[in-house]
């Protein structure tokens, strides 16, 4: 069954083109410090997108994303530096390896229902962070790993901040489009069916355990790829980066943007990433107001910015044509 073919909305096309133009001209508009901020933000977007898939689509709350992000980063560093394999292979291995790890762990964790998966994910996060800190042969222990080489493909080396920007942005766009595609696929629908009504989903032939594990596996792939990008960009990995606090940040970002569409993840990530930079001079008070802002946002609009925007849009539309809102 295919959705009826919808003509491309010209407004949408113009909007997308504009957005793309802005994103692509950012390296021209900012200094290298801000460009680094943007690079990290796009990488973070991948992790937060994974939160969209797992929480927004499949309804499962995990706090392990930053840990999986770290797994991807350390896999990359080891593959490139110890095995000397090409970076592209490392990127793929980081994505697939982390995805496989998450998928297998998902099988164990999702045998537990409700809260228990969230508990287990907090446990996983803590254990992974402990391993990053102490497993010296793989992670360099407390000293971390430094001098991870930049990404390169043949003679083409991504070693400037600007080149990294386009490289990371490209990966982000691919991931974003794939997730959009996922939304309209049977797999994506089975995620949403589980989120909305697990018993109905089962009665429609959807295997909860397998499907949730796949969702967690996709989370792993996205975070693993993000980890690889981070390793190539930063060149230095420390256990202090891949923390539980970072995972809570991802959750806050996706909730700020809204979980009803992937764009919510991007909006939330960008707002928080940039806010943190712009208010750096006021750092002393800012964290306090940041916390206050989160509480306020949840009270005023628990569906995030997207939810708020939708509510406004519907209000405006129903005022425009009050009679035709309910189809009979």
């Amino acid at each position: 069954m295919e959705r009826a073919y919808r003509r491309l909305d010209p407004k949408r096309v113009v909007f997308t083109a504009l957005l793309l133009a802005v994103c692509l001209s950012i390296p021209r508009l900012t200094d290298s410090y801000m460009l680094r901020v943007f690079n990290i933000a796009w990488i973070t977007c991948l992790c937060v997108l994974s939160n969209y898939v797992l929480l927004g689509m499949c309804g499962q709350n995990s706090f392990a994303q930053a840990g999986l992000w770290g797994v991807g980063a350390y896999i990359t560093a080891n593959v490139v530096m110890k095995l000397g394999w090409p970076p592209l292979l490392a990127l793929l291995l980081a994505g697939l390896g982390t995805g496989l790890l998450a998928f297998v762990l998902g099988f164990a964790f999702f045998r537990l229902r409700h809260y228990y998966f969230t508990f287990a994910s907090v446990g996983l996060m803590t254990i992974l962070n402990g391993l990053f800190m102490n497993w010296t042969p793989f992670t360099g222990g407390a000293l971390g790993i430094s001098n991870v080489p930049s990404f390169s493909l043949g003679s083409f080396v991504v070693n400037t901040e600007e080149a990294n920007y386009f490289f990371i942005f490209l990966i982000f766009v691919i991931a974003y489009l794939l997730i959009k595609k996922l939304y309209h696929s049977p797999l994506g629908r089975s995620f949403m069916a589980i989120r909305d009504n697990e018993m109905a989903a089962n009665c429609l032939g959807i295997n909860s355990l397998l499907t949730k594990s796949i969702a967690f596996g996709i989370t792993g792939i996205l975070c693993g790829v993000a980890g690889a990008l981070y390793a190539f960009l930063a060149g230095y990995l420390s256990y202090q980066t891949f923390t539980y606090q970072q995972s809570t940040m991802y959750l806050i970002m996706v909730m700020l943007g809204g979980t009803s569409a992937p764009s919510g993840a991007v909006i939330g990530t960008m707002i928080i990433s940039l806010l943190q930079e712009w208010v750096r001079p006021l750092q002393n008070y800012m964290q306090f107001f940041y916390g206050l802002g989160i509480v306020l946002l949840m009270i005023v609009q628990p569906e995030g910015i997207l939810g708020g925007g939708r509510a406004l849009y519907e209000k405006w539309h129903s005022r425009k044509r009050p009679a035709s809102t309910v189809a009979k």
Binding site: L112, N134, T248, L251, M255, F288, Y290, G291, M298
Partner: protein, 289 residues
């Protein structure tokens, strides 16, 4: 068996028991895992520091005042971070509690600075037990005071009218409101009790470990593990779980590695989740058909 380690493990266990019991009280009342429970411990400790070191009160009245103040903090927390969201999705409440924990953490930093602080001991000095083990009196005091407080809260819940009101609200809010129980009051009381119990823990802990504004997270993580290990929603489970976590931490730190302390606790937690998800005391969270 290292007696010294045993006593300090049990003492820490009782602190965790107070935090996890506070967490369970809130969970039973409103079905929400409070991700800011550890901050109650931190904030309670700082309030105790304020009364004890800044206002120069003796430690016992300082502890009592801190507990009272924490009761107020708990009620404020309830009305700002939970009550407006009571009908929203659980994840929104989780995030709001996370926001609140940032507010606690940063608030404490803005008020008291980021230099670690301490308070007076309830009982000074050390005791020699069984001729070999040197035990700090504060540890014994923690065990004694916590035990009494936990017992007190438990009896309050199980044996008194107000406890029954709170339990009725926890079980079925709608029915409770139908039979004339002031639901808001009952929930606020639960939050206050939870914050007081956990807050005193901060004041008791401060002489042993310096207080700092970021201690809430690790405390929360350990209390959380304790709650799951003990059995979610079970008050005795939270206490036993807390004690277990304290002991695992003490002995794991001494015999395996201090850097792996939290990891060991969480390996035990994941082990429990895999093979006995209902924990020691809990019943499985049932799915409604």
């Amino acid at each position: 068996m290292n007696l010294q380690l045993l006593v300090s493990g049990i003492a820490m266990g009782f602190i965790y028991a107070m935090v996890s019991m506070g967490m369970v009280l809130i969970f039973r009342a409103v079905n929400i895992v409070n991700f800011a429970q550890g901050e109650f411990l931190m904030f309670g400790g700082y309030l105790c520091y304020m009364f004890n070191r800044q206002l120069h009160l003796p430690i016992v009245p300082a502890l009592l005042l801190a507990a009272l103040a924490m009761g107020v903090v708990g009620v404020i927390f309830m009305f700002t971070s939970y009550w407006p969201l009571r009908n929203a999705q659980i994840r929104a409440i989780v995030v709001s509690a996370m926001g609140a924990s940032i507010v606690f953490k940063e608030g404490a930093r803005l008020i008291w600075g980021s230099i670690p602080v301490t308070v007076d001991r309830v009982v000074k000095g050390t005791a020699v037990i069984a001729n070999t083990a040197v035990v700090q009196w504060q540890n014994i005091a923690i065990i004694g005071i916590s035990f009494i407080l936990i017992l007190f809260v438990y009896l309050l819940l199980e044996r008194t009218f107000i406890g029954h009101i709170m339990q009725a609200t926890a079980q079925d809010r709608y029915m409770a409101s139908l039979v004339g129980i002031p639901v808001v009051f009952s929930i606020a009381l639960t939050f206050a009790l939870s914050a007081m119990l956990t807050g005193i823990g901060g004041g008791l802990l401060a002489p042993l470990f310096f207080l700092n504004n970021t201690m809430g997270y690790t405390t929360n993580a350990k209390a959380f593990a304790a709650v799951v290990i003990g059995g979610f929603g079970s008050v005795p489970g939270a206490v036993i779980g807390g004690l277990l976590v304290g002991l695992i931490e003490a002995f794991g730190g001494a015999y395996i590695s201090t850097t792996y302390q939290l990891v060991i606790i969480y390996v035990v937690l994941v082990f429990f989740l895999m093979f006995r998800p209902q924990g020691i005391f809990g019943t499985r969270i049932q799915e409604k058909a």
